[in-house]
C-alpha cells in the first residue's frame, strides 16, 4: 500500500474524536481500581475500629494528606507520561513536595521524642506487614491504571511503568490508611513509602513489555 493510500484510508470516515480521552480513561481506571482495593481491604483487613476517634487527631489528617497528595501528584505524572512530548518538571516537583514534607515532619518528631520513644515512632507495631499490605492493595489499581496507560501513548515506557506502579501504591496506601492504626510520621515516611515502592519496582520491570505501541 502506498503512503498516500494509507493516508486516504486513515482519514476516510475518521469522525470526531471525543475530547478529554485521557481524563475519562483514568477516571474509569481509578474508580474500578480503588473500588476493588476497598473491597479487598474490607474483606482481608477491616476498617480500623477507632476510625471515628482518629478523625479528631491532627496526625490522622497529616497521614491522609500525605497519601492523597502523593496519589494526586502521581496521577498527574501518569497523565503527563500518557501524552507524547509533555514536560515532566511540574510532575517531579509535585511528587517531591509531599515526600520532603513527611520526611521533615518525621525528623522533627524523632528529634523531639525521648530516645526510648523513637523506636516506637519508627517501627510502630505493624512495620513488618505494612509495606506488603499496601503492595497487595495496590494490585487491582495497578491493573486498572496499566489498562488505561496501555490505550494511550507513553513514549518512556520504563518511567511510565514506574509511575503507574507508584500511583497504584499511593492509592493503595490511601485505602490502607483506613485500616492502619499507625500514626507516627516516621512510620509513614519509611514503611508507607516502601510499600509504594514495591509496585513502583514491579512497574519499572514491566513497563517496556506492557506499554509498547
Amino acid at each position: 500500500m502506498k503512503t498516500d493510500d494509507l493516508i486516504a484510508m486513515l482519514s476516510t470516515g475518521s469522525g470526531a474524536v471525543e475530547p478529554h480521552a485521557v481524563f475519562r480513561r483514568y477516571s474509569t481506571a481509578i474508580g474500578w481500581g480503588a473500588l476493588c482495593a476497598m473491597l479487598l481491604m474490607a474483606m482481608l483487613l477491616g476498617v480500623r475500629h477507632d476510625l471515628g476517634q482518629a478523625l479528631s487527631q491532627p496526625m490522622f489528617w497529616v497521614k491522609v494528606g500525605f497519601v492523597i497528595s502523593l496519589a494526586a501528584a502521581s496521577l498527574y505524572s501518569v497523565s503527563r507520561l500518557s501524552r507524547p512530548g509533555s514536560g515532566l518538571a511540574t510532575a517531579i516537583v509535585a511528587l517531591a513536595v509531599p515526600i520532603l514534607f513527611i520526611w521533615t515532619v518525621a525528623a522533627i518528631a524523632l528529634s523531639n521524642a525521648v530516645p526510648t520513644e523513637r523506636e516506637d515512632l519508627l517501627f510502630g507495631r505493624t512495620w513488618s506487614s505494612c509495606p506488603f499490605l499496601i503492595a497487595t492493595l495496590s494490585v487491582p489499581i495497578f491493573v486498572a491504571l496499566a489498562w488505561a496507560m496501555k490505550g494511550l501513548a507513553p513514549t518512556q515506557l520504563r518511567l511510565a511503568g514506574a509511575i503507574v506502579g507508584f500511583a497504584a501504591g499511593a492509592i493503595g496506601a490511601a485505602v490502607y490508611a483506613l485500616h492502619c492504626p499507625e500514626m507516627g510520621a516516621p512510620f509513614l515516611a519509611s514503611w508507607y513509602l516502601l510499600g509504594m515502592l514495591i509496585p513502583t519496582a514491579v512497574g519499572t520491570l514491566l513497563g517496556p513489555r506492557l506499554f509498547r505501541w
Binding site: I7, L10, T12, V22, R83, P84, G85
Partner: protein, 181 residues
C-alpha cells in the same frame, strides 16, 4: 517552521472535530515532514524510511486522542516520531545503527520530503490477516468510504460493532506493522 506548526495544528484541530478533508491534509503534510525527518536519521537504512513513515502515521492516527490541544504540536509529533525511530533501531539492534544522534525537535517541521518511496511491507497484505470483525469494517468504511449504515447492511454487523471493529482493527494493524504477532 512556526507557520508550519500553526497551519498543521489548525488542520489537526479541525480533523479532531470531524473534518475529514482537513485531517487528510494534515496527514499528507505530516507525512512529508516525517519522511524528511526519518530520511536524515536513517542514512544507512534508506529502505526503512517509508515503512517507518507509514508506521508513524498509523500510530499518530491511533493515538490522536492523546494530543493535548494546549500543547505544541511539534513536541507531540516529535516525541512519537522519536519513539518510533528508537523502536525501529532497537528492533534492528546489534548493528552499528545507534551512532545517529537522536536530537531536538527543532528541525522536524523545517523541511519536507514528498518524494515517497515504495514501502517494503504492504499494509494491505497485513490487513488481510486480520479477523473479519476487524477487517470488514476497515475495508468497507475506510477503504471504500461507505457509511456505518451501509457497512452494517453489507456485513450484517451492528453499528457499534463496526465502530469498535475499525478502532481495534487499526490498533491490531499497527501491531502487525511493527512486527508483533
Amino acid at each position: 517552521m512556526v507557520a508550519n506548526e500553526a497551519r498543521l495544528r489548525g488542520l489537526l484541530m479541525r480533523g479532531l472535530d470531524g473534518d475529514g478533508l482537513a485531517y487528510h491534509a494534515f496527514l499528507k503534510d505530516l507525512s512529508a515532514h516525517l519522511r524528511a525527518y526519518f530520511r536524515r536519521r536513517l542514512i544507512n537504512l534508506p529502505e526503512e524510511v517509508e515503512d517507518l513513515v507509514q508506521e508513524s502515521l498509523l500510530a499518530i492516527h491511533n493515538q490522536r486522542h492523546t494530543y493535548d490541544t494546549g500543547q505544541p504540536l511539534t513536541a507531540w509529533v516529535h516525541a512519537i516520531s522519536k519513539y518510533k525511530l528508537v523502536d525501529l533501531l532497537r528492533r534492528r539492534a546489534g548493528r552499528d545503527l545507534l551512532n545517529d544522534p537522536l536530537d531536538s525537535d527543532s528541525d522536524l517541521f523545517s523541511s519536507t520530503d514528498s518524494d515517497a518511496a515504495e514501502a517494503q511491507r504492504d499494509v494491505l497484505k497485513l490487513l488481510e490477516q486480520l479477523p473479519d470483525r476487524y477487517r470488514l469494517p476497515i475495508v468497507y468504511m475506510k477503504l471504500q468510504g461507505q457509511s456505518v449504515a451501509e457497512t452494517a447492511r453489507i456485513t450484517g454487523m451492528s453499528a457499534s460493532a463496526i465502530k469498535v471493529g475499525v478502532h481495534r482493527g487499526l490498533k491490531a494493524l499497527a501491531a502487525k506493522v511493527r512486527g508483533d504477532r
